[in-house]
């Protein structure tokens, strides 16, 4: 789908890609507002913002989706200076996202770099093609856009328990009965708002496997379910629900300790 160039460079361009149901993609309101604000700035001001290295939760942090929009506009306008600045930052953010899956590649840095390279090239083929709307999703949910491209190049699961952990736990936990498996159904409901806050604040204190489980719990996954058609943490990781429950107990203990430390 070809996009017409907008005569007014300070007016934000709408996305054009449509879902299979015919609805046009739309950006989040925060991204839309930020892009509109940036379009009123002078080039030098934009360059200063790009060089300011703000943290994700700081005011005026440039959203990923904003960077995608600006990079495509810079490409359309042939502004290499802005494009190169934005690309350097986008590249860093892409690798930071991919590093969340680094553990899947064990000690093999080369395999991880191969995976990263293929993913980034798939991303760039869409981002740099300014005559196409293939990168519109990158302006809607950049993180999900990166993972969808990563899934396109990596046939293995991005989310898996480390092999050693799995072998150890499988040997220890295979004797779980059907009733025991279902004990946990109410566990996620037990994650109160306070627990969720502690989990999300203290997640960096956990091991990589625990971080993965904590992230899934925080996102609303259940550990196990009676319904065999439902996706659960236990089924996706191929680890018994008892193991997951044990991890959750360990996490709670660690996080309680963390909470006590931060309250001191």
């Amino acid at each position: 789908m070809t996009k017409a160039r907008d005569a007014d460079s300070t007016r934000i361009k709408s996305l054009t890609k449509k879902t299979r149901q015919g609805e046009t993609y739309i950006r989040r309101a925060d991204a839309e507002l930020q892009i509109e604000k940036i379009l009123t700035l002078e080039k030098q001001q934009i360059l200063e913002m790009l060089g300011s290295n703000k943290w994700r939760d700081e005011a005026d942090y440039l959203l990923d989706e904003t960077l995608v929009y600006l990079s495509r506009e810079a490409r359309i306008n042939g502004d290499d200076e802005i494009f190169n600045e934005i690309y350097e930052e986008l590249n860093r953010r892409i690798w930071k996202l991919l590093l969340k899956f680094r553990r899947n590649f064990g000690a093999n840095q080369t395999d991880f770099e191969d995976f990263g390279q293929k993913t980034e090239m798939a991303i760039l083929r869409k981002l740099l093609n300014t005559d196409s709307d293939a990168a519109d999703f990158a302006q809607v949910q950049f993180g999900s856009f990166v993972i969808s491209e990563a899934k396109g190049v990596n046939k293995q699961n991005l989310i898996a328990v480390s092999r050693d952990q799995k072998l150890f736990e499988t040997a220890r936990e295979d004797d779980e009965t059907g009733d025991e498996k279902l004990e946990n159904i109410s566990l996620t409901n037990e994650l109160s708002a306070e627990s969720k806050m502690i989990f999300s604040e203290g997640i960096k204190k956990l091991s990589p496997d625990q971080q993965m489980v904590a992230a899934m719990l925080l996102d609303g996954f259940q550990i196990e379910s009676k319904d065999e058609n439902e996706m659960t943490i236990s089924r996706h990781l191929g680890v018994s629900s008892r193991t997951i429950r044990n991890w959750v107990k360990e996490m709670r203990a660690l996080l309680t300790e963390y909470k006590e430390e931060t309250n001191r």
């Binding site: 930071k96 980034e120 093609n129 609303g220």
Partner: protein, 205 residues
Amino acid sequence: MNEINLTDVLEEYALAAPHGFDQKVLKEMIEKYAQFAEELKDFAAASAVVKFAPETEMSEVDESRYREIGLQNLQMVLSEMNPSAPEIQVQNALVSLTDAAKEKGMNRSKFAAALGLSVSLVQYLEKRRLEFATIPKAVIEKISGVLETSEDVINSYLNQSPVGAEGASFKASERPEELKPKNFADAVREDQQLSATDKQKLLEL
């Protein structure tokens, strides 16, 4: 007929579940696109990790390495999109020795074997951690032959600051020991992978 591709299906799930994991939406999507059931599940789990798992701190060396790979990827994609742009292809030639080898279908081990070196010596060359003046001309000729590029290009790649050093903001007095280039002969002697015979051959170059 509309062709369904994986990334469009994953986008459809993400757009239908914008606030996080949604069992109902996932089940519907799996029913609709059964051929992508496993990918949809893994995508949903990976989205949770992207959203909630903490970001990994990158070292100066990692930052530099990923910047380098990123630039190379950019140049390669630009070259694909505009194959007639000669300046891009020239820049592209040597951003990384091992990536250039990869383009020729060789992983690090195969590249090392083709050069008659060990993987760790290839790593030294890749990271420019060998004193340029001590690298035998025969090694440079060999690299040039295997990568099918000119010796000048190889020389200009190897005769630069070690990878990870450029752009780093630390003071000279704080530069990590590992970034200091090593003498080629010393690196050969200390190598753990080469046989005594191979080492002797390299030392005689």
